[in-house]
Structures are given as structure tokens and as C-alpha cells.
Subunit: 222 residues, 2 copies
DNA sequence: TGACCTGTCAAACAAATGTTTTAATTATTT
DNA sequence: AAATAATTAAAACATTTGTTTGACAGGTCA
């Protein structure tokens, strides 16, 4: 089996990649503490010592998994996907909300990306800092512009911040409260594209109605 | 035997209470898995065997801590803030939202109530099942009635579920996203009663405006 | 008082788990 | 082809941690 490039290196990278995939799945499902390297290696079909050999220790593997997941999610859902600059802000808002939900409810190999970030919220590691600056702040700015366009007021108006938060909070709700919602109303959890779109439609109309009512300007600016 | 308020029994209850308090603090700070029985007993100034003696095992202690915390928080901030049953639903909604936020942002000995529940969302333990049924579902039903009153439609209308979720999602947002919000907009995090009340006012008016606009009835009922 | 219950304590136990070690296998180079 | 480096594999190691055990102290009640 003479491979033209570097078989040893190829195996090295392949095992590494499988450990990243398995780590993502197991960390997302079990949490950092409950995820065992034995389980990760079992899923990755690798030896128990593989994690330490390739990543040093469990913590380093976790950091690498976060970067890996972040990269894959960005690749699948680029931040500016399907948002034409010339579109009216109402349409942009609908697209923003819908794509947000699609990311959250995404099935498949990138589905653990959201769960990993959720865990970072509760127990922030150093990775959250760069994650906020690189991924979350750009999206936040994007939403601010849309909301300011709908409210027809300057970006630094307090209502922009307030209403943006109201929109985002509805989007991330199922992100964080899925276990509770699943127990309270099992049938209400969106599961297919149609129900996700219905949910996006509700959040959009709910938020648009609230913003169109032009709430009184708060006393203090930000 | 006939245990009234004799020293032995008093010690029993006292140790038990201290274990609950210590458990709340340690579980909230470290999470269920990372919190060790040894640490809890150290904080409670009790012996290592105390947890097993008084609660059976670590899981049972955790469940009791959750009940204890939620009970204390509800006792301190009742959902309707003493509003009479006859009050208009708009006033009830405002009280519901405000007390919800007060519970979340509460400082002091009951402050870990919020963190505990946040962790349950991300990393559900067996305790979540009973917590949902005993504590959360009643509050959910309460909100449903309020929302149904505002929408002026039957309880099983799909819009009741949808709008209730929109309200709750705004309330729990800072619960879960605090680390991100703290990095994105450090100055926007509510910190005193005045800013909490302003936030409650925004959520209330935002949601009322959305609901008063009477969104079109969805095709399917629940 | 003396049997008896209850709660506390220190020590030990047993299981899980991250990590290391050492040998075997595979690939690359000379 | 032989030597060397790289990767994998199996077992052992060391630590943590929930739990149990058995002794002991304090109080109760016959």
C-alpha cells in the first residue's frame, strides 16, 4: 500500500479528524465533564491513548473541537447568506430570523455546534471571547441595522438595542430551553422545515407588530 | 420516636438545611458533575457522610436543592405579586414578567436558583422531570391564562402557546446569554431594581403591542 | 442506670477516569 | 532490504469521588 503522499501522516490526520468529529458529538451530548475519552475514542474507533497522543490532553481536544465546529458552521451558514443589501428591512428581518432558526435546528454533523456554544454560555472558557468577536458581534451589528431600519431611528437609539434583544431572545429560546420545552409540550418542538418556517413566521410577525407600534422612546439613550 | 424539637432532631434539621444551602451554592457555581460531595460538606461544615445519611445520595440532594431553591424564589417573588384574580390580564402580564426578572436577577442567598435552572436546561439531570411538573408547568399554565385573556381566545388556540413562548423567551434571555451579553454590551446588563423594572416595562409593552395587533390565526390548532 | 435511638465522624472501599508506559505495528528513508 | 521514525494498541497507574462501614457521643425513655 504505497500511497503517493505520506501514509503515516495521512493516518495521523485521519485519526485526528475522527477524534474531532467524535469529540464534537460526545461533548455536545454529554457535556465536557461527562464526556469520557474512552467514549470519544470508541466513537472515533481509535485507541484510548489516541486523545493524549494527538491532542495532549482532554482540555486541548475540547478547544480544538470548538474551533473545528465553529469553522464547519461558518462554512455551512455564512453570515451574509441570502440577505440582499437592497431588500426592505422587513424582508431582511424575516430572513435573519429564519436562517437563525435553521442554524439552531440543523440536523447532521454540524448540529452539535449550537450545543457546544450553549455550554460555553453557562461555563465560559477562553474560546468564548474570540467566538463573540468573530461570529456573534457581526451578526449583532447586522440585526441592529435591520431593526434601526424598521424603527426608522438612529443606530444608537435605545429602542434598537431593546428590540434587537427581543428578537434574538425568541430565536435562541429553543436553543437553551429545549429540555424544558420537550417536557412541557413535546409536540411543539419544531422538527421539520415546515414547522421551523412557521416558527420563524410567528417570531417575525410578532416582532414586527411590536416594533411597528412605535413604542415610546425611553428617557435615556445608551 | 416522638421527635419534637429536641436537640437531636434540631441538629438533624439544621444539618439538613445547611447541606441544602451549601449544595445550592456549590451546585450553582460548579455544576452538578463538578460539584463534589466533599466540597458541599466542607461548606456546610458537615461530615463527608452527611449527604448520604440525610439524603441518600448525591442525586437526591440535588433534587431537593432544586426544589428548595425554586420554592424560596417563588416565595420571595410570587408570580402575580399579590394581584387579585380579578385584575386585568395586562396588569397580570406586567406582574408576571417583572417577578420573573426579579427572580432571575436576584442577588443574595437565593441567587443560585437561576443558575441551577440554567444548568438543568443545558445539562438535564433526572431532577428536571419532577421540577417541570411540580414548578414550571403551573407557572406555564398561569401565563397561558393571562395570554389567552389578552388575546381573548380559548386556551388551546395555537396563538396562546406561540405568544406565551415569545414572552418567556424574552424573560429568560439574560438568564442564558449573560456571558455573551456581558462581552457584547457590558453596560446593558441590568444591575439594579430600576434597570430591571425598565427591562420589564419594555418586554411588557413589546409583547402587549404584538398581541394587541391580533396576529392572524394559524391554520392549525394545536 | 442501662438499653436504645439518632446523628456525627474518620477511615476505608469500589468504581470511574484521565493519563502514562511499553510493546507492537506500520510507514518512510537510506 | 535494513534501519529509523511514526502511529497504534493494550495494560497499568494514579487520582478523584460517591458511597459505605463501624465506632462513638449525646440524649431519651423504660
Amino acid at each position: 500500500m504505497k500511497t503517493r503522499s505520506h501514509p503515516a501522516v495521512r493516518n495521523h490526520d485521519e485519526t485526528r479528524r475522527q477524534l474531532l468529529e467524535a469529540g464534537g458529538a460526545v461533548f455536545a451530548e454529554m457535556g465536557f465533564r461527562d464526556a469520557t475519552v474512552r467514549e470519544i475514542c470508541r466513537v472515533a474507533k481509535a485507541n484510548i491513548a489516541a486523545v493524549n497522543y494527538h491532542f495532549g490532553d482532554k482540555d486541548s481536544l475540547y478547544l480544538e473541537v470548538l474551533r473545528y465546529a465553529h469553522g464547519k458552521a461558518l462554512e455551512k451558514y455564512p453570515p451574509l447568506q441570502g440577505l440582499p443589501e437592497s431588500a426592505p428591512p422587513e424582508k431582511k428581518l424575516r430572513a435573519f430570523i429564519h436562517s437563525f432558526l435553521l442554524r439552531i435546528f440543523d440536523k447532521g454533523p454540524t448540529s452539535w455546534h449550537g450545543k457546544l456554544i450553549s455550554r460555553e454560555m453557562i461555563e465560559p472558557t477562553g474560546a468564548l471571547d474570540s467566538l463573540v468577536e468573530e461570529r456573534i458581534r457581526p451578526m449583532s451589528n447586522q440585526l441592529w441595522k435591520i431593526v434601526a431600519g424598521i424603527l426608522d431611528c438612529p443606530l444608537n437609539d435605545r429602542r434598537v438595542w431593546m428590540c434587537s434583544f427581543s428578537v434574538v431572545s425568541q430565536c435562541v429560546f429553543f436553543h437553551h430551553c429545549r429540555p424544558v420545552v420537550a417536557r412541557l409540550f413535546p409536540k411543539q418542538l419544531p422538527h421539520d422545515p415546515a414547522s421551523i418556517e412557521r416558527l420563524a413566521e410567528h417570531i417575525t410577525t410578532f416582532s414586527l407588530a411590536a416594533m411597528k407600534s412605535r413604542p415610546a422612546r425611553s428617557a435615556t439613550k445608551r
